[in-house]
Symmetry: C2
Subunit: 108 residues, 2 copies
DNA sequence: CCAATCAATAACCAAACGGTTATGGTTTCA
DNA sequence: TGAAACCATAACCGTTTGGTTATTGATTGG
């Protein structure tokens, strides 16, 4: 799956409630909107809107089951953020690049 | 230096102009507010406000030289974001953890 | 010394944001 | 079959945000 634009990913994760929802989905696995609403402690429409933003960033994926929608986290959608850190997080980049090169030599 | 709160880092990097400023500082090194203003193509006060947000996240550090202030990027302030990705970016985490472990065995 | 330069702050504004309540469309099941 | 459950969308609202111009304080250089 083609990743979303970096801007959408950064934007989506800027809000603490949205991060919390994403975290909850990665920890506990797939959840209905109902469950997430209970977890987040805000209204159901508010949760739906957050999920829309996360969907735009491809960080979550919906699965319709009858009248309920189950959402799951899509961790590989974080790739644009990881790539950005790779480019501009100099200190950490060096480590990672060296390791990446290493890995490639070891597991062709 | 103790890192800033994750929320400040995520917030600061959510804005594309702020990311661009940070990128420019990591690429070209230390810059005056004047130079950054020219680069960003917005007003000087706007740049100053962006720099304030980046400062709060400890992503940039100012150095007063006479009447000009030179800012430099502080890439290790990205640590809170990297840590978060380590916790919740499952797919990528595996890669990184494997690599990290490797490095440790190789460079004690 | 004094005019100009640099950067931060203040005051202001439109747009975006994060929340709410109200509504509507499906789907379930008693 | 009809009421209730689930979720998305609409309409609305106060606050935050990203920008502007105006101002001020400090520093420099002719």
């Amino acid at each position: 799956m083609k990743p979303a634009r970096p801007d959408h990913v950064f934007r989506a994760l800027a809000d603490p409630t949205r991060r919390a929802i994403f975290e909850e989905l990665t920890r506990q696995g797939e959840q209905t909107v109902h469950a997430l609403t209970h977890y987040a402690g805000i209204s159901q429409p508010a949760v739906s809107k957050h999920l829309t933003v996360l969907k735009r960033a491809k960080l979550v994926h919906p699965r319709r089951l009858g009248r309920e929608t189950h959402y799951r986290a899509q961790p590989d959608a974080l790739a644009p953020m990881v790539d950005w850190l790779n480019l501009y997080g100099a200190f950490w980049r060096d480590r990672f690049d060296r390791l990446e090169a290493l890995l490639e030599r070891m597991e062709p």
